[in-house]
């Protein structure tokens, strides 16, 4: 392996870790998706209080995830964002709604009323999660695009990445992507419930914790069913393999990747076990409050392994459904060796960043 290939692998792993952090932090969205439930009406201020101290971290992780993707794999950024336009715009809109809602909802003179901002939070929590899942689902199930770099010289239509005329709407209505999207939503809801249980330990909050504990089983069960359905579809799907610059569809590509990369399978299985333990330990024991850490870290491990399955072992992580040769791999879509080196030096600060986030998180409990 040359240095460029090493750095491409390293940066894909970093993207996977950022994606994992984002999925972990989606418990904020999961919590928002339950704000409007009648059952939660008495606890809404408490739920907002708990989630409101963390939303910026989720938001920031999303921004950094996008920025890191741009810097390390610009052809993906260019192709996906410019092509699946409506998918990304809807994700954006849902996150704009979130950013102002926490700050505005209870302030006098907020123009729209508290209820409207709670609806905004619900939209971000539910639609945002599903659409993010759809966007990631496309990394396995593909998109309708072509890439022709020579187009840059065509004065009348100088765009290198072209997409089908539906511009991402087709991805939103693809059932495979939707299964994954809803799996993400119910994972986020489950983690939110676990987080509520973790945070609600005051005398007055026992009833709240107990009601959230009860909901873990329902949401967790739906998540498990959806996740198993996704896994079945994934393992039986075709993937695109890139060998020496040529691309071809391969049956059971993702199953093969799991079998070929034993360490990825290990991480995946450990992650699944941790998620299940997080759910079950909370459901089965009234004293258990650490389910969020088991489930959160487990979910993060599963996300990292899914990214590895999508991008490693000669796999195209963004398969084109209409021109297999346009499929994106970590090799044909990355930044140059120089840029990846610079970014790698910058990435050294990541542990420091994680360190102060963890420190502040602990201080603010």
């Amino acid at each position: 392996m040359d240095s460029l290939e090493c750095l491409q692998i390293y940066w894909w792993l970093l993207i996977a870790v950022l994606g994992a952090a984002l999925v972990f932090m989606l418990f904020v969205q999961g919590g928002q998706s339950m704000l409007l439930c009648k059952r939660n009406a008495p606890y809404r201020p408490l739920m907002i209080e708990i989630l409101g101290h963390k939303w910026e971290l989720t938001f920031t992780t999303l921004v950094v995830f996008g920025g890191a993707f741009f810097a390390s794999f610009p052809l993906f950024y260019s192709t996906s964002f410019g092509g699946a336009y409506w998918l990304w715009m809807l994700i954006l809109f849902s996150f704009i709604l979130q950013a102002v809602s926490y700050e505005f909802r209870s302030k006098p003179g907020n123009l729209l009323g508290e209820r409207t901002y709670d609806v905004f939070l619900f939209i971000n929590g539910s639609v945002g999660c599903v659409l993010l899942g759809v966007a990631v689902g496309m990394m396995f199930f593909g998109g309708e695009f072509t890439v022709a770099k020579g187009n840059i010289l065509d004065g009348s239509a100088p765009v290198i990445s072209q997409w089908s005329s539906t511009h991402g709407l087709e991805a939103i209505f693809c059932w495979k992507n939707l299964i994954f999207g809803f799996a993400v939503l119910f994972l986020a809801r489950t983690m939110a419930l676990l987080y509520f249980v973790n945070c609600a330990h005051g005398k007055d909050e026992k009833k709240f914790a107990s009601s959230q504990r009860g909901a873990v089983l329902v949401n967790g069960a739906i998540f498990v069913v959806l996740f198993l359905a996704f896994l079945f579809v994934l393992l039986t799907s075709q993937g695109v393999e890139a060998v020496d610059g040529s691309y071809c569809q391969v049956e059971y590509k993702y199953l093969d990747n799991f079998l070929s990369m034993w360490w990825v399978t290990m991480v995946f299985l450990l992650g699944v076990i941790a998620v299940l333990w997080g759910i079950l330990s909370t459901v089965l024991s009234d004293k258990s409050r650490n389910g969020i850490w088991w489930a959160g870290i487990g979910a993060a491990a599963v996300v990292v392994s899914l990214f590895c399955v999508a991008g490693y072992n000669g796999t195209a992580y963004y398969p084109s459904l209409i021109d297999v040769n346009s499929s994106l791999t970590i090799h044909n879509s990355s930044s140059s060796l120089f840029t990846l080196r610079v970014m790698t030096w910058v990435s050294i600060v990541t542990p420091f960043v994680l360190g102060y986030i963890a420190y502040v998180w602990k201080k603010m409990r």
Binding site: K54, L57, F59, T60, L62, V63, V64, G66, G67, A68, F70, A71, S72, P74, L75, Y77, S78, S80, F81, G82, G83, Y85, W88, M89, F95, I96, Q98, A99, V100, Y102, E103, F104, K107, P108, G109, N110, L111, K149, I152, S156, A157, P158, V159, I160, S161, W163, S165, H167, S336, T339, V342, M343, V346, S347, V349, V353, I357, V360, K363, M364
Partner: protein, 522 residues
């Protein structure tokens, strides 16, 4: 692609809309974070409950503004991909890095310590809280630094080379990108303009309190801090504005010509202070560009070249490739017609390179590569049909620049008087007309701030990357109607949220959150 012009115009409109909305909130965040941090520092040192109350009051307004700034910021990042996807590929290797660094180094700092700042009063020690407040302010400025590094690079592309095999630019010198003088001057100019804006905001709101005869002590203390920060910002802005003018003259002379409405330059060129542009003036006729003007002799030469006799080219000089040396000799530089020819030659060479690469003809690849290299500095001109296509909208650039300078001059006076009054002549602050000037300055400082960005961004048109890529080559392949729909959706959402923010702020201010202020210990 159908209707390329319409698509480009709507994509530009959408980006301009987002950027202008974003810039309504960001400068207040940049400046108010510093002001609040200074106020909290005074509280920490004196343990005065009055200073604590003042800090919390301004922090509340900061929090309301901060959220919407964050919301509009993420859109800008994503729009580079969604609406300018070609750009994202063509220079993503260089442009993406500052954005990613910003996220890692600045956003997490802001988000993490911002939460402590807003919610941590009872959870952490005063020292830790103060540290968090300063780190939030520093994070905001680091964020601005990397965004402005990225923006400056678009206006002065350095530290890169074109890779014909990948049909994109790749970075070859990160230091040149990060420490470009244009970036440094832009950073100082933009951040210090944020200090001015926040200083004027704090001073104006405090003047309103004084007019209403409420919270007098709190208002005067706030003016002392706010106006001092504003004044410091003003001095930094003047210095960096001068440096930026020299940068523009050197790397974007067409922008400078448009800012001045200057068609035919000269040595010892005068600086137009105030003027009305002649609407009949076009690039092709000899009409006087101004209906009237008040100008400062040799002012533009001094500003742009730091010499009273320096030559400043006008639009026609640049198009025709004419320059006058310090010795007074006329020399010919590369005219825009020649640049277009060179740009098209570069395009042809790139096409030939691709064909030679497909055929495995290395000799032809080497020839094409060399031709491309020789002509690449004008690659973007290859997309233009006429030299006049490289001229930005003169009227908008000209008036926006004047607006910025005139209002900026007025605000310098206001903020200097307010700072002096608060510190040395508090009886001046009993004059209603002076207080009203303070209040009226609030909307004016936003107009000034927006005008600055309009000058910078409209003045560089048609380039998304100076000389390398015009906007029409940078877009995404979406339909015009698609962008129109998203434009109006953004416009509605932004307008509603802006109205909500203004209402919340007005409510917070008019409620007078400091009703028990006088009973607090000092």
């Amino acid at each position: 692609m159908e209707d390329l012009t319409g698509l480009v115009d709507w994509s530009r409109a959408q980006f301009a809309l987002t950027a202008m909305f974003h810039w309504l909130f960001v400068p207040l965040t940049l400046g108010l974070s510093v002001i609040v941090a200074i106020m909290e520092t005074i509280y920490y040192r004196t343990r005065s409950q009055k200073w604590l109350a003042i800090t919390k009051f301004w922090m509340l307004l900061f929090a309301v503004n901060f959220a919407i700034g964050v919301a509009t910021g993420i859109i800008l990042e994503f729009e580079f991909g969604s609406n300018w996807s070609n750009y994202s590929w063509f220079v993503g290797d260089i442009f993406g890095a500052p954005l990613a660094i910003e996220g890692l180094l600045a956003f997490f700092l802001e988000a993490t310590f911002g939460a402590v700042m807003f919610f941590g009063w009872k959870k952490v020690s005063p020292k830790f809280h103060l540290t968090a407040t300063w780190l939030t302010a520093i994070g905001a400025s680091i964020s601005a630094l990397w965004i402005l590094v990225a923006n400056a690079w678009m206006q002065y592309p350095v530290g890169m080379e074109f890779d014909p095999a990948q049909m994109r630019n790749v970075m070859d010198d990160f230091t040149a990108v990060a420490l470009s003088p244009v970036a440094i001057h832009k950073f100082i100019h933009s951040v210090s303009s944020g200090w001015i804006l926040a200083g004027v905001f704090v001073t104006g709101v405090s003047c309103w309190f004084l007019l209403k005869k409420r919270n007098r002590d709190m208002a005067i203390r706030s003016i002392k801090v706010g106006a001092s920060v504003g004044l410091a910002g003003m001095l930094l802005t003047l210095w960096s504005g001068d440096s930026s003018a020299v940068d523009v003259a050197r790397v974007q002379p067409m922008k400078l010509a448009a800012m001045e409405g200057l068609y035919n330059g000269s040595c010892g060129q005068e600086l137009v202070g105030l003027a009305l542009l002649n609407p009949d003036k076009t690039l092709q006729n000899d009409e006087n560009p101004y209906l009237f003007d008040i100008s400062i002799p040799k002012g533009l030469s001094l500003l742009a070249t730091h010499s009273t006799d320096g030559f400043v080219p006008g639009i026609n000089d640049l198009i025709n490739g004419i320059e006058i040396t310090p010795e007074g000799d006329t020399i010919h530089t590369t005219s825009y017609a020649e640049r277009i020819t060179m740009g098209k030659t570069a395009h042809e060479a790139l096409r030939a390179y691709g064909e030679a690469q497909s055929a495995g003809d290395e000799a032809a690849m080497a020839v094409a590569s060399q031709t491309l290299k020789d002509n690449y500095q004008y690659f973007g001109y290859g997309y233009l049909e006429s030299p006049y296509d490289a001229v930005p909208p003169v009227g908008l650039t000209f008036y926006a620049f004047r607006l910025m300078v005139i209002i900026g001059g007025f605000l310098l006076l206001v903020i200097a008087v307010m700072a002096f009054a608060a510190m040395r002549r508090q009886n001046w602050l009993a004059n209603k007309w002076l207080l009203w000037i303070g209040v009226i300055s609030i909307p004016l400082v936003w107009v000034c701030s927006q005008a600055g960005w309009v000058t910078a961004e409209v003045g560089r048109q048609p380039w998304i990357i100076q000389d390398i890529m015009p906007v029409q080559a940078a877009i995404s392949a979406v339909s015009t109607s698609t962008v129109m729909i998203s434009f109006w959706a953004f416009a509605v959402v932004f307008t509603v949220f802006l109205a909500a923010e203004i209402c919340i702020m007005l409510k917070q201010i008019s409620r007078g959150s400091l009703t028990d202020y006088d009973s607090l210990s000092d």
